[in-house]
């Protein structure tokens, strides 16, 4: 599989082999080579005042590390400005990171020649939030989907057209209707399906979804989420799934990384992160979600976290969450916590960057939940 990117002809015939690959779940994944290894990624931007004078540095990413295995999904959650999108852009080398490394299939991507980078990018594709913003309005759907094949393979026009039709079927759109449509003639869900078909066109091993379903309606969201899940099972795709909706991320992820102000607060198996979070920030995020149990109709009101997120221009010393953390003590301002394995017996690593990690099931102190509106007054 490793040589696939270098050999464009393999793209066409690769699907049958990939489909036969066993589901790479659970312990099996441990024995395999990681698809993506990100180490100590740092990304900084300068802010400039009048006359281009440097006025400050935005610490967008500060030492982010994780591994992603083939056929697995890593969900990335965090508030606005936590560096989720910067991370995606640094992984795909749209912007070269200040320091740190990104390895894809064992090959280091920073400092790669443009030609090599092109070959690697054929194997990692992105799906963005606004499908209409990422589709050229003047192009037909078939042109949109066949463009990556034009750039990365030497398929004939006939071959490309056949592949476009196959891809449209995969994403659940009838080729005879949609091939000649233009983006304006599509609904939001259909346009996002076209964007996904384009991303899958070169049979990538990794798809990076940057808020890919956030702008869609609930019912369409469910369809697209199911489609992602089918593609993962059928062609063994791995995903880096960035979203701000924690429930959606749990639905699709094997592991979840919680980002806070450019750092990983916690990373671990999805169930552990949601059922027994160790970082106070993860707990606070989960507590902020208005919950409805669809089985019983019980609602649980969120407990808000006090204070605003600090500015990435001037992050707090030590732990960057300490200004909002109910458990913070003096040491949190002095020493920056490093991600440490908590060892809860799972096959996937579970790391927490906190001086006072929560015990499984422990709640944050002094945070009484208010009852839901209907229960309170009726």
């Amino acid at each position: 599989m490793t040589g696939k990117a270098a050999n464009p002809d393999a793209v066409n015939s690769g699907s049958a082999e990939d489909a036969k690959e066993p589901d790479t779940h659970g312990e099996m994944a441990r024995e395999r080579e990681p698809l993506l290894v990100v180490k100590d990624l740092v990304q900084e931007y300068s802010t400039r005042g009048p006359g281009g004078v440097k006025t400050g540095t935005v610490h967008a990413l500060s030492g982010v590390s994780f591994e992603l295995y083939p056929g697995e999904t890593l969900g990335i959650v965090g508030e606005t400005g936590s560096g989720k999108s910067t991370l995606a852009r640094a992984v795909i080398q749209v912007e070269e990171p200040v320091s740190g490394t990104v390895e894809f299939r064992g090959k280091q991507m920073n400092g790669m020649s443009r030609k090599d980078l092109r070959a690697v990018r054929a194997e990692m594709q992105m799906v963005y939030q606004d499908p209409f913003g990422s589709l050229n309005p003047r192009w037909k759907v078939s042109d949109v989907i066949s463009e990556p094949m034009l750039g990365h393979t030497d398929m004939s026009k006939q071959q490309r057209q056949e592949r476009v039709e196959k891809l449209l079927e995969i994403v659940g759109l009838d080729p005879s209707i949609y091939c000649n449509r233009r983006p304006i003639e599509l609904s939001g869900g259909q346009a996002q399906r076209v964007a996904i078909a384009r991303a899958v066109a070169l049979e990538p091993a990794l798809i990076i979804c940057d808020e890919a379903i956030s702008s869609l309606d609930v019912l369409i969201q469910a369809q697209v989420l199911n489609l992602f899940e089918e593609l993962r099972q059928e062609i063994g795709l791995a995903y880096l799934f960035i979203a701000h909706d924690l429930a959606t991320v749990k639905q699709i992820s094997d592991s979840v990384a919680v980002m806070h102000l450019g750092q990983l607060a916690e990373i671990g198996p999805a169930e552990a992160i949601y059922d027994a979070p160790r970082h106070p920030y993860t707990r606070a995020l989960l507590d902020s979600i208005p919950i409805l149990d669809v089985e019983t109709g019980e609602a649980k009101r969120p407990v808000p976290l006090k204070g605003d997120p600090p500015s990435p221009l001037d992050p707090p010393s030590g732990c960057r969450f300490r200004t909002r953390c109910p458990l913070a003590e003096d040491i949190c301002a002095e020493v920056e916590p490093i991600p440490t394995e908590v060892g809860d017996g799972s096959s996937r690593p579970h790391k927490v960057a906190c001086h006072f990690p929560l015990e499984p099931g422990q709640m944050l102190p002094n945070r009484p939940a208010r009852p839901a509106a209907a229960a309170a007054t009726v």
Partner: protein, 375 residues
């Protein structure tokens, strides 16, 4: 309509009867809202949920006369006994922003980037209540304290770009509260915010409602949010109310298959990773060419001949719960549709695949799109 008692405890300040909005476009008539009926009392929150295009926003914007000239509004909207439909633009000016205020989704777009936030709040204060600049500034600072913006005396001189999204939304709320409105409409007011900020803003709105007794209409696509903060919930589909009930009653005893489908499609914090979501195929109907019968029938797994022939009225109800459906699900899962009284859906009715897994189901789904394309 014998709505529930709790809603009649205090006299409603807002009564909407048979509200219809029709847009005329290129000789076609788009029926965006088809007969809304509801009442709202002080201190209560009504949530309106539904897909985009279901008429949620158009329905509330028509209350304030915020629709383009191509819209024709009929029916009756009474605010404290005063009829709002058919008011002149000038008369509406005294209602809009004063009696009914609105908060929109994007706080950055609601604020003027070239004016400091203090001037924007003072403008809103002095528009409905002429007073000296200095007095208005004192009132503005009071409002900023009400919305719990830290250090209001310095913030008042700042511009929107200097504030975070949550702070901007607090400013927008302060402007909305400037003339002490009776009804506050929050149209996806927290959708653009982080969950942490959303929780803060919702808590603030609850607090303000308790203190000032404001009635709130909350439009949201987030069902969890509606379930937590609303007293009553109204589910809209194709411009019609398909289910309207007390929040507790609605979510513990869902009747309308569409509401059930909405709930099944939302990922829950309790779901196991990689589990499938329940999906219904098809699309909302074309509002310029509504089918006869129930608008949801073409997508509904429980639909029968009666559903396509006759429209179910929003009448069958108990005290707290009304719904428009011939075959209510009665709190049961949607899949349990194979009971004796429910026939299989005709192929012509369109696709009703629970999920689009198999290629066969996909083909059905695609053919329903095909039909839509031909129309």
């Amino acid at each position: 309509m014998g709505q529930n008692q709790s809603r009649l405890e205090n006299a409603p300040i807002l009564t909407v009867e048979n509200l219809r909005v029709v847009f005329s476009k290129h000789g076609r008539e788009v029926q965006a809202v088809n007969g809304l009926n509801y009442q709202l009392s002080s201190g209560r929150t009504l949530a309106i949920i539904g897909e985009s295009g279901s008429g949620k926003s158009v329905g509330v914007r028509s209350l304030m006369g915020l629709l383009p000239p191509s819209a024709k509004v009929t029916g009756s909207v009474r605010l404290n006994g005063r009829e709002l439909v058919g008011l002149s633009e000038k008369a509406l000016m005294s209602v809009r922003g004063k009696e009914i205020a609105m908060i929109f989704q994007d706080p950055a777009a609601s604020l003027n980037p070239t004016m400091n936030v203090g001037s924007q709040i003072m403008e809103a204060i002095r528009l409905h209540n002429p007073m000296k600049k200095r007095e208005a500034e004192v009132k503005a600072i009071e409002l900023l304290k009400l919305v719990r913006l830290p250090s209001p005396e310095t913030r008042i001189r700042q511009y929107p770009h200097q504030l975070s999204g949550g702070m901007r939304q607090r400013i927008v709320i302060a402007i909305a509260l400037a003339s002490d409105p009776k009804v506050l409409i929050a149209d996806e007011a927290t959708t653009a915010l982080d969950v942490t900020t959303q929780a803060q803003i919702m808590e603030l709105l609850v607090d303000i409602q308790e203190r000032l007794g404001t009635a709130v209409i909350m439009i949201s696509h987030d069902i969890g949010l509606a379930a937590n903060y609303a007293h009553d919930v109204m589910v809209m589909y194709a411009g019609k109310v398909v289910e309207h009930a007390n929040t507790k009653s609605l979510f513990s005893n869902v009747q309308m298959p569409y509401t059930k489908a909405l709930l099944g499609a939302v990922p829950q914090l309790t779901t196991i990773p990689h589990s499938r979501l329940t999906v219904i195929g098809g699309h909302p109907p074309d509002l310029s060419n509504l089918p006869t019968g129930c608008p949801f029938a073409p997508r509904c797994p429980r639909a029968t001949n009666v559903c396509t022939a006759e429209e179910p009225p929003l009448e069958r109800q108990n005290d707290q719960h009304s719904y428009a459906c011939w075959h209510p699900v009665g709190g049961q899962p949607l899949e349990a549709a194979g009971t004796a009284d429910v026939l299989k859906v005709d192929a012509q009715d369109g696709a009703c695949s629970e999920s689009s897994t198999s290629t066969q189901e996909r083909a059905v789904f695609a053919s329903s799109l095909d039909e839509r394309a031909k129309r």
